[in-house]
């Protein structure tokens, strides 16, 4: 019971401290802006630890963070190949193929109107298919290894990427296009010097949405058959043996990976679309 009271005390204390930081006179410092969410996260973890121990919650329901961290480092030798299998091969492979082919398709769709009317509904239909239905089929087609996971990812990321890119390629003003016409610019010159740069904010929007979808797709697809490694495989087998600390460790890996992936794309976006009003400082 003492631990529970300690949890309440930590919570109130951290809340007050964060409130003071966020509203105080240092609130504009970059370090303070970074500290506030970190303190919040740390508080959640400490309170979680104290309550789970204080109320003696069974580890199957919710293990304390210290156990999860222990499982994470203790099983690093297992988790690393899992990570490589699921992220580096399945998710990233599918991401590159799916986003790349969506980009090329978008250029075609944009050029030929009949494709726009024909392909966009098909893409829409594909995006509406439930992943738990398509994944087993794709596993049948492409085998147990990462290729089938990449295929699931392609199906998931293709449509959002396509729609965003098509919208982006249309996002030029009449005047910007007229300017190209007065130069007698060719279709490809207009594409590369005007429409593609103008589309970049939209393209990055699609790329960011696709990061999350890719990771989800690659993990879930492993539930329908995979070699004896992979984050999804690890979750499903660990649940079977009630090794919940392992499940949580995998969740930590997936969360860190997803955040870093998204962050990397967002960083690239800031570098390449610095000129867009939404990115200007």
């Amino acid at each position: 019971m003492i631990l529970v009271f300690a949890a309440v005390a930590v919570w109130i204390g951290a809340w007050a401290f964060n409130g003071w930081l966020a509203n105080g006179r240092f609130s504009d410092l970059a370090s303070v802006r970074l500290a506030v969410p970190l303190i919040f996260g740390a508080t959640v973890i400490v309170v979680w630890e104290l309550i789970v121990r204080g109320l003696q919650v069974p580890p199957v329901i919710l293990p304390p963070p210290s156990t999860i961290v222990g499982a994470f480092f203790g099983n690093f030798g297992v988790l690393w190949p899992d990570f490589v299998q699921t992220f580096a091969k399945g998710a990233l492979g599918g991401y590159v193929i799916g986003c790349g082919s969506a980009l090329l398709t978008a250029i075609l769709v944009d050029r030929y109107d009949f494709l726009r009317r024909g392909l966009l509904p098909v893409g829409n239909f594909m995006a509406a298919l439930p992943i738990v239905g398509t994944a087993p089929i794709l596993v049948m087609w492409f085998g147990f290894d990462w290729q089938s996971k990449a295929a699931v990812v392609v199906v998931m990321v293709f449509f959002p990427m396509l729609v965003n890119t098509v919208a982006g390629l249309r996002d030029t003003s009449a005047m910007q296009r007229d300017l190209m016409r007065t130069y007698g610019a060719s279709y490809w010159q207009t594409l590369f010097k005007l429409r593609f740069p103008a589309a970049l904010p939209f393209i990055f929007n699609g790329l960011k949405i696709a990061t999350t979808l890719a990771l989800i797709g690659a993990i879930v697809a492993e539930f329908f058959g995979s070699p004896t490694r992979g984050l999804g495989f690890r979750i499903s087998t660990s649940v079977g043996t009630l090794a919940l600390d392992m499940v949580w460790a995998v969740i930590v890996v997936a969360a860190l990976t997803g955040t870093a992936f998204y962050g990397a794309v967002a960083w690239l976006e800031r570098r390449m679309t610095f000129w867009h009003p939404s990115q200007r400082k």
Partner: protein
């Protein structure tokens, strides 16, 4: 007058809009000879921009004929006969000022050295030396407009079409750029079509002033200037200058009463 570079006869243009047709140009006939400096002046909405866009092949007339260098406007556009300065600057935000001026040069396949040389020269011409590496949104509206003029001058087209290029500039800069433009015109023998709302500007620059009136847009007067080719700024105080300005003003007034 020598052979016309731009020749419009009985030009008509009606825009089909959701609120019904808009008659933007009616029965516009005009010949512009090689090396002429022609100004278009008239109330807002009388079709000056529309006429310039027709010449540049950006708008399709619904009646009459229009020839540029003996070609259709569209063919002339493809042969890169024009530099066009739009009413708004319209610089690409992802390119620096230098990069924007380089854009037409890249498209037309100038060599790298030639590009750098021309960017430098035209930036100096519009008084923007030192701003080459800035981005458009970091410049004032007037500076952006000057950069867009530099962009149109960079590739030396024989025909220069300018839609209120100096509208956003203060008097002093405007005077200076008027002088520079006259010098450039004198030196290069370009044919220039120039839209303005300022009577003194039109009279100071032009060999021919075209007065237009609205609804539907048509030409009400064409004034051949009697001023000499050599024009110092103080020519604007001469009696001859004032007489021409009066005639332009009368033409504009008459157009208003008709409409």
């Amino acid at each position: 007058m020598n052979q016309p570079v731009i020749s419009a006869s009985h030009l008509d243009l009606t825009f089909q809009t959701n609120d019904g047709p808009v008659h933007a140009l009616r029965d516009v006939s005009l010949d512009i000879g090689k090396g002429e400096f022609v100004s278009f002046i008239g109330p807002s909405g009388c079709g000056k921009t529309t006429f310039l866009r027709c010449i540049a092949g950006l708008e399709e007339p619904t009646g009459g004929t229009l020839a540029v260098n003996g070609l259709t406007p569209d063919a002339a556009r493809r042969s890169r006969a024009y530099g066009y300065v739009f009413q708004a600057a319209g610089l690409y935000p992802w390119r620096t000022i230098g990069g924007n001026i380089r854009l037409p040069l890249e498209i037309m396949g100038f060599s790298k050295e030639e590009q750098a040389e021309r960017v430098k020269r035209t930036l100096e011409l519009v008084d923007l030396a030192g701003f080459e590496k800035k981005f458009p949104w970091q410049l004032s509206g007037g500076m952006q407009q000057r950069a867009s003029i530099a962009r149109a001058l960079a590739f030396d087209a024989d025909i220069l079409l300018m839609d209120e290029p100096f509208g956003a500039l203060d008097e002093i800069v405007r005077d200076r750029l008027n002088e520079e433009l006259l010098k450039l015109w004198d030196r290069t023998g370009k044919t220039i079509g120039f839209v303005t709302h300022s009577i003194p500007e039109a009279v100071y620059l032009s060999t021919k002033i075209v007065v237009m009136s609205p609804r539907p847009g048509r030409i009400t007067d064409v004034i051949e200037s009697t001023l000499p080719r050599e024009r110092p700024l103080d020519i604007r105080d001469s009696a001859e200058f004032i007489a021409i300005a009066h005639r332009v003003r009368d033409g504009l007034r008459a157009g208003h009463i008709d409409a």
